[in-house]
């Protein structure tokens, strides 16, 4: 593995700076992004009001009055300091999922597309070890990598107007969980009873950047019980 070579620091606008660690989606690049992200959460940078981590980069939004060059230099310094930090250990998070049936409306579609029967799909989906690369796009939405490529299925041609919170789906080579009820075009294969995002406690994410996650199949009874416990 290439050791942390210096990332690129470039202005993205006159009020934001992108720190770019590479041009690929990989665990190695993720570790660098995650280490720096972790460091800035603990040691905020003067003049920065928002950070947007992603697969291979972090975008910094500056305060209205902050100097672009000056803040870029502070970000560089902060990165340098962060490389002295130990890579934080990944949390292990288990996500219970009720697969198929009324909550997995697109199981047949995935089955047709992959040529696998639902039992095999569930087995392979559960079998994966997944990494949450980052949270982005919309509130609490985890970008999850590590799905078995044999489960790859194209998005629905017409997105659903409403997908319930907790829905677990597949879109091309990604799997994901809908944190909130929203429109969506992913193939739904199941649902988790736990709230992965909750508005009264937005900072208390159940699934966070850097987490290692496992999907665990549950029965309808277990699902209902877990659902009661969270509401």
């Amino acid at each position: 593995m290439a050791l942390n070579h210096t990332p690129q620091f470039v202005p993205a606008s006159d009020q934001s700076v992108l720190v770019k660690f590479g041009e690929e989606i990989s665990n190695e690049v993720h570790q660098q992004v995650f280490t720096f992200y972790h460091f800035i959460l603990k040691m905020p940078i003067k003049g920065v009001i928002n950070i947007h981590p992603a697969y291979a980069s972090i975008l910094f939004t500056l305060e209205q009055n902050a100097g672009l060059h000056k803040t870029l230099t502070l970000i560089k310094k902060s990165w340098k300091a962060s490389t002295q930090m130990r890579i934080p250990e990944a949390r292990q998070v288990k996500i219970p999922v009720l697969y198929g049936g009324e909550f997995g409306e697109d199981m047949d579609r995935v089955s047709q597309h992959t040529g696998l029967d639902p039992v095999e799909i569930i087995k392979r989906h559960q079998g994966g070890s997944y990494l949450v690369y980052f949270t982005g796009f919309s509130p609490g939405f985890p970008y999850i990598g590590g799905m078995d490529p044999s489960l790859s299925t194209p998005r629905l041609t017409t997105p659903r107007k409403q997908v319930p919170a907790g829905a677990v789906g597949i879109a091309v080579e990604q799997t994901g969980i809908y944190p909130l009820s929203s429109p969506g075009g992913w193939n739904l294969i199941g649902q988790t009873p736990i709230k992965i995002f909750d508005w009264p406690h937005p900072t208390d994410l159940r699934v966070r950047m850097g987490d290692s996650i496992k999907f665990i199949s549950v029965t309808k009874e277990e699902f209902d019980q877990l659902k009661e416990n969270v509401t």
Binding site: V10, P11, A12, S13, D14, Q15, S16, L18, K20, E23, E24, I25, Y37, L41, I49, N50, I51, H52, P53, A54, Y55, A56, S57, I58, L59, T61, Q64, N65, G67, L68, F134, T135, G136, F137, S138, P139, G140, F141, Y143, P179, L180, W199, P202, T203, L205, M209
Partner: protein, 310 residues
């Protein structure tokens, strides 16, 4: 002290200057679409700049005041009457309990702000009362204001002297919007860059606080239309596969996967907030130092108003 919505406008929301510090949780800042006007409006009634106010879009509301109030309207001029008599714009004005303010259609740009001395008393989430319509949070139940909605106002802590008379108002000319090079500038060849800055674009009717869809000259990327998803700056001009630019705005997604050709400069973001569907405008390329200078000048301008109030 409270006010009540007797007739709801087209898309009226409660806003302040935005919710910062949560982009890493997928939550974009939201906040006033024309923050410059809202800041000035607040100063006119002696509020700190970041005080919670009402943002109206294209057509305003009819509002009954249940108590005396000191208010100012800022941003684009809308048709405004107080008890059926014309009401001043860009000016702090006293009104009495029982009076009705009727804010009709716009007379120029897209947004008008109602700032009330003491601010609106709305519950804050992550230090902000801003409504984020696409995620359904903030403001009043995360939604637009509706008929019958009642909001308390008038927390008089931290008050300052209101601005008396102002001479320079922000320019209302939205025909030119300045932009710097975007993160994927080198994904576009010279011809496409040139076309982008030469041609006029029209604001599509599908535009909202999340983003403005522009129609006009199609722009072709030489490296495709999908990047490795990365953070999205406010004002980013993204080029999707159909070549029609999308301008990311206050409720933008925190990350995105389209290449970004350019980025509206901070000092012109308030103009974007005043663009209406079907408005036409042109982008003008500027370098980063010039963009930054314009931003800091705008901040100095606001500061000079505050000096005035002391």
């Amino acid at each position: 002290m409270s006010l009540e919505i007797l007739r709801a406008g087209l898309q009226t929301t409660v806003q302040d200057l935005g919710r910062f510090g949560a982009a890493h949780l997928g939550i974009s800042a939201s906040g006033a679409a024309d923050s410059l006007s809202m800041r000035i409006g607040n100063l006119m009634v002696g509020n700190p700049e970041n005080t919670t106010a009402i943002e109206m879009t294209l057509t305003g509301d009819t509002i009954l005041f249940h108590s005396d109030a000191f208010i100012a309207l800022a941003g684009s001029k809308f048709k405004i009457d107080l008890d059926e008599k014309p009401f001043p714009f860009w000016s702090g004005t006293y009104i009495l309990a029982g009076q009705v303010l009727t804010i009709g259609p716009t007379l120029n740009g897209a947004r008008c702000y109602l700032c009330v001395r003491g601010g609106l008393q709305v519950k804050k989430i992550i230090n902000s009362a801003s409504t984020h319509l696409t995620s359904g949070i903030g403001g009043l139940n995360g939604s637009i204001l509706k008929k019958g909605g009642r909001i308390a106002f008038g927390n008089l802590d931290n008050m300052i002297q209101p601005i008396k008379n102002m001479e320079n108002f922000p320019s209302t000319d939205t025909t030119t919007i300045r932009a710097t090079k975007g993160l994927q500038w080198d994904w576009f060849d010279n011809q496409n860059r040139k076309l982008f800055f030469e041609k006029e674009y029209q604001v599509s009717t599908l535009s909202n606080r999340m983003g403005l869809r522009l129609s006009g000259q199609s722009i072709l990327s030489s490296k495709g239309n999908e990047i490795i998803t990365e953070g999205m700056p406010l004002g980013a001009i993204q080029i999707p596969g159909n070549g029609q630019p999308i301008l990311s705005f206050v409720e933008h997604q925190t990350t995105g996967g389209y290449p970004k050709l350019a980025n509206v400069i901070s000092a012109d973001l308030y103009k974007v907030g005043q663009l209406k569907p079907r408005d036409q405008f042109q982008f003008q390329l500027v370098e980063f130092p010039e963009a930054e200078k314009a931003r800091l000048e705008q901040e100095n301008y606001i500061r000079s108003l505050k000096v005035h109030c002391r």
